[in-house]
């Protein structure tokens, strides 16, 4: 037993990824602990109920799991977008704007181009990516050729998108209930039976699309020449240039791709009914959640999958604990978890030391036994 424990620890010690994952888990546990203490302080009698609802609640029924998966899809994509940009040395704080533009493009096609027939949905999704790409391209170009800091450009573009898309919707696909029209049935994400599996009408294939995207990005970044170039530019522009990589164009491409992923999130969110694309002057928060998701995943495309699922899960838990504790409590807890995950470096150190100590002790243990025999 002890040996097994040690061996796993050694395995962990060898694999840096494993250490990363463990430190992330540690952060999560720490955050939940903090939340529990908070709940105890606020209302002791409900604390256990609350913790139970938050953690187990979202997994207690297929329906709840359905919720988790459905809401994971958009933040998985925005997270992916941010993570991808990070890996190529750019901070895409504009995901929310790209998402908004993507959503409009998708809805415009989804509402009007009914003549597309069976292709309708897929064209709408492409439109979403196109819209996002467009909105991502602007800061990319500005950075590459007028060296405007991408963060500034993106922030400005977030607001421009917000207001201009409101206008576009008002002029083209407006529904008097302060929202965009729902897409035609031919442009709605099908559920491929997931609906009945999860007995949740809101369920659709959005999550599958998101997962697919995550794998594609994983491949692009880690297996392809293009990914190699992007990462080079991300790590050292001058060196990339020396290596003959056209770093300007790579910057633009990477923003275009990041944008298109965020745009796709817009499509996945709104190519359905029952979720209105509302006219409002507040930025869609999925874009910002994406930043947290990407960071919790240490910008690894596959890690993003888990980070997004986790976010969706814990948020769901928060809503389930409603009436015992305000859902804002969960937002607080999530924030704390993110914060702890920021301390991952520290956590890793702790883990590494711990692992070392354990293994050392063990070795000594065995040696002493050896002496005895």
């Amino acid at each position: 037993m002890n040996k097994l424990w040690t061996r796993t620890l050694e395995a962990v010690a060898k694999k840096p990824n494993a250490i990363n994952i463990m430190s992330s888990l540690l952060a999560i546990v720490g955050g939940l602990l903090f939340g529990f203490i908070l709940m105890l302080i606020i209302n002791p009698n409900l604390a256990f109920y609350g913790l139970y609802r938050i953690t187990v609640g979202p997994l207690s029924s297929m329906r709840d799991i359905g919720w988790v998966l459905r809401n994971a899809a958009p933040i998985l994509l925005t997270g992916l977008s941010v993570a991808f940009a990070f890996r190529t040395g750019l901070f895409n704080i504009g995901a929310t704007g790209q998402l908004t533009v993507g959503a409009f493009f998708a809805l415009y096609v989804g509402v009007n181009w009914t003549w597309l027939g069976p292709a309708h949905l897929w064209v709408a999704l492409l439109a979403a990516m196109l819209g996002g790409a467009l909105w991502g391209a602007i800061p990319g170009l500005l950075k590459a050729f007028r060296n405007v800091h991408e963060v500034v450009a993106s922030i400005m573009l977030n607001y421009i998108a917000l207001h201009m898309i409101n206008l576009m919707v008002r002029m083209t696909i407006y529904h008097p209930d302060e929202r965009a029209l729902y897409p035609a049935s031919s442009a709605r994400l099908p559920s491929w039976g997931l609906e009945s599996v999860f007995s949740f009408p809101g369920m659709n294939i959005g999550i599958l699309i998101a997962l697919l995207m995550a794998f594609i990005i994983h491949l692009v970044l880690n297996k392809t020449v293009f990914g190699y170039e992007l990462k080079s530019v991300g790590l050292s522009r001058p060196a990339a240039r020396y290596a003959g990589i056209n770093e300007k164009s790579r910057v633009v491409y990477s923003m275009i791709i990041a944008g298109s992923i965020a745009g796709l999130a817009g499509g996945v969110m709104f190519l359905t009914t029952g979720i209105p694309f509302r006219l409002s002057n507040v930025l869609l928060m999925q874009g910002f959640t994406g930043i947290a998701v990407a960071l919790l995943a240490l910008s690894a495309p596959l890690g993003v999958i888990f980070a997004a699922l986790f976010f969706s899960w814990i948020t769901r838990g928060g809503n389930l604990a409603d009436r015992a504790y305000d859902p804002e409590l969960i937002e607080i807890i999530v924030a704390v978890i993110i914060y702890f995950s920021a301390l991952s470096l520290f956590m890793k150190q702790v883990l590494a030391d711990f692992v070392k100590r354990r293994t050392k002790e063990d070795v000594q243990l065995h040696e002493s036994q050896g002496d005895v025999s």
Binding site: Y49, P176, D177, G202, P276, L279, R323, A324
Partner: protein, 341 residues
Amino acid sequence: GGVDDVEIALITDYGDIDDESFNQGTWEGIVEYAEEHDIAYAYYRPSEVSDDAYIEEIDRAVRDGAKIIVTPGFLFSQAVYTSQLRHPHVTFILLDAVPEDEDEGVFVAHNTVSIFYDEHESGFLAGYAAVYDEFTELGYMGGIAVPAVVRFGIGFIAGAYYAADELGVTIEFPDNRYTYLGTFNAGADVESEAAGWFNAGTEIIFAAAGGAGGSVMSAAEDISAWMIGVDVDQSANSDRVLTSAMKALATSVQLVLDDYYSGKFPSGQTLYLSATEDGVGLPLENSRFRNQATVEAAYNAIFDKIADGDLIVPSNYDELLDFFTDWELGNLPITRETVGG
């Protein structure tokens, strides 16, 4: 889980029950009634703005034992359509909308009543009273051009010019003093825009813009100008609120609750509450008219006219045009593009 039971439940569409508007009005009605007859009540905030979330919240209310579920706002039409069928033994009060399904269309089930308000009449009364209170430069700020907001605006125009004609005064209410802010949220830009109008001479702004109305209030305070609140009596929020173009959310909900408990529930009906039913109006007692007496007299008179159907208040742009020609109010300075709807 140790959460106590509920009989009357309110589901908010978005925002909280202190939105100085729909949720608040309805909630106050429920609280008052429930406290009086001590009935358990509670309100629920859906996790997001989506039919699924609404339906789920309704389900949860039902699980908590809710017998009556009040859903204020048009966003609920689909959710109530679905739920009224899934919970035939639960009663639904839907405000400002009818249960409607994307494909199936409208259907008000036996366990549901939907209530509309004639906002245009409320707006008319506000404009009328303002002009009678010797305001000559008026403006209108709507949140977003949803039907109710548009009707408020149209009524306001009609009322203002109608009063001006009666009094034989000329008023300033030009095209660029009628706008939709594109938001229901408070913010510096809204406050600044309103202040700009006041500074340029506008004396009073009718703000049918939810939270954004608060920014108009701030502006009015800063520049000691006036504003007119909406939906609920907002006089308490600021002493710059001249009056409020109310919809009797509280009272209407209470009426229906009363009917329900006395077994006279208007099953499957769609009620249009107008002046006739005291469904709309101004809170005279809390208004700050500069010449209270005159305004009150005029108000009561015109109110009865409307209530008795002697005066038909326009509710869309075409009717507004006709209204102007019928009553020879001169030509309408505010364009169709601006009013929209």
